[in-house]
Symmetry: C2
Subunit: 413 residues, 2 copies
Amino acid sequence: MYLAVMGYGTVGSGVVEVLNMNKTQIAQRSTVGKLEVKQILDLRDFPGDPNESKFTKDFKDILSDEDIKIVVETMGGLHPAFEFVSDCLKAGKHVVTSNKELVAKKGYELIELAKSNNVNFLFEAAVGGGIPVIRPIEQCLAANDITEIAGILNGTTNFILTMMIEKNMTFDDALKLAQEKGYAEKDPTADIEGFDACRKICILATLAFGKHIYPESVSTQGITKISLKDIAYVNAYDSVIKLLGVAKKISDKKTFVAVYPAVIKNGSQLSSVSDVFNAVLIRGNAVGDVVFYGQGAGKLPTASAVVADVIDCARNDEKRKPIFWEDAGEDDLVISELSETAVYIRAKLKAEKDSAVAEIEEKIGRIELLTYDGAEKDEIAFITERKSEKELKDAINSIGEIETISVIRVTDY
Amino acid sequence: MYLAVMGYGTVGSGVVEVLNMNKTQIAQRSTVGKLEVKQILDLRDFPGDPNESKFTKDFKDILSDEDIKIVVETMGGLHPAFEFVSDCLKAGKHVVTSNKELVAKKGYELIELAKSNNVNFLFEAAVGGGIPVIRPIEQCLAANDITEIAGILNGTTNFILTMMIEKNMTFDDALKLAQEKGYAEKDPTADIEGFDACRKICILATLAFGKHIYPESVSTQGITKISLKDIAYVNAYDSVIKLLGVAKKISDKKTFVAVYPAVIKNGSQLSSVSDVFNAVLIRGNAVGDVVFYGQGAGKLPTASAVVADVIDCARNDEKRKPIFWEDAGEDDLVISELSETAVYIRAKLKAEKDSAVAEIEEKIGRIELLTYDGAEKDEIAFITERKSEKELKDAINSIGEIETISVIRVTDY
């Protein structure tokens, strides 16, 4: 069976490499024999590349090639990826993509288009890179009502936080190191502000709960405000700070979805996910908690997920794989406040410490004070009890003797 | 679509419960509408059970019922499970099982039988309970050459080791507690001697490498010889002891498969798997390391995996899902010695410590001595460098000034 690859960057070239590297077993597992790349779309030239003869700069060459049954989209960005993918689906070609922006923003439209053309539109690589996550949700956990998902979904920010936690590097130095290592782009905004994680949790929440969650509706907070002081205080609580994407089903019409840094106790499965690794925790009403862990990015891991989807398209050439993804209704609500949570707070003291603690405990209940060697004398840090988040916020705002600097949710994962 | 359940024990009754609890979404995901239990086979009586009217004591009632398209086998044991499953497959019914003994010993035969009758024989629940493992190997990681698998595959032994590590309980006390909590059976042999983990690693190795690995050919060591002294010494190495099932591909014809306690560094994904939880690490040549974590046993988690397979059978009623599982050839070899490993050794001193250390280092190279508060004066414990396991064993045996008590492999996961 023939395929085309659109976009010969890191992931696209990785797809060609994996198809070649493991061709014998891929041919066996596809059940249709060899899977061969016939055309590669890229506007750049790749002189000397072993696949040089397969390159084209004209999308129409691929669209009109009836031999090509499966098209891999690894260009990234919304345009022209959306138009090209739409055209391929309309032409009766299966499409596999690693493009999270495309899926998060246009997933519903493209799935409907695939359905009406009786082809598959698969996107395992768009979430969690090489880690199998989407298929487990769709198939392995099909017998469960999924109530909650929490994931470390962005390798760049996890690397930066790991360097801050383990090497005591400042955020700026850790970001610089991530850029030197090629983990962060020159403009790191999408990673460090949480936008990348947001797209991924939107896709996961949509698959788990069945209705399209759009990134615009999701409260998204990055890691730029995390300081080494927060890391040190939280360490005294035997915990670490990780950037999480979280989705909880509140009711049929109401979902909590948000991206935020969170305090996680050491010893949990998510706390030990370090460097550029990712992990996704899924809570089902029958299976309990399951966690999937692996490399969330990188050439070959991501390509491995793309090729698994390609194999699945080949196996299911005649049959559509069902995906449960409806558009959001007008009365579907995405909320960003938890009905119950504990929080970590760091604040400037505006009065004597004992007096401030008395006021805090009077207004928000018992707290656990944190400290570390070298903590500033005029600061205070503590963990609250679990309470309604709205009540907690109101109470914190009413405390006159401190000025809040950081507020970070404490998870129970 | 109608199904039957054979064996109304913990898992079987859980299957009926999950089918009922999540029936709306299961009907949606099956793509064939409602999945309904029509008959339940069990020799016992269940007066007052809500499904009382569905019970039969005669297997032929199920076999001859043409409405029943899918049969769930949750009886356990080899006989009559093997005969019943064979008859169902021959009668053109899909079979889903959670019976690891059946799959580990008769997997090849039953898969071939399913193939020749154009039905599915699925067994996700036979490894790792609720954790999706088999389907990820077969599908999500299909683009990878899998080189290695290592798993904490038995919840009972993991619970016992966790109690020893965290509560300083002796093996006997921890086993007793496991029995009180219902995690261990009255006769705990299959768990504590590693036989249960052995069946599971055999199934995983077979799926990953494609040829049937039989339990009889696998070196299997349990945890009965692990003492609190070993736990304490290994803690001084910032590590824990876990019972692992390990499979490595050495060459096309040669596989290392074994079950043994191993030393694992804290901070790794496997080290933080505690209590009755299980985890499986899979190493692929494209994806790197991925880890799947969750509840390896228990009524609803296991039932959740069985029902996922049932849904898959319904979805693929007309089409067989491919499984790559050949019988082992006469020249296929399962080995039980590693080409390279470090080991932890605890030994009785038969000479002065300094003199013994000198002899050890002369014979096996540099070692890292371990100690803890309260260590016996006439004992020594250390970690060796990584070496050929055969050479290490020979060298250890040649040391005259110590008498070896424990030898435990150190992993690099």
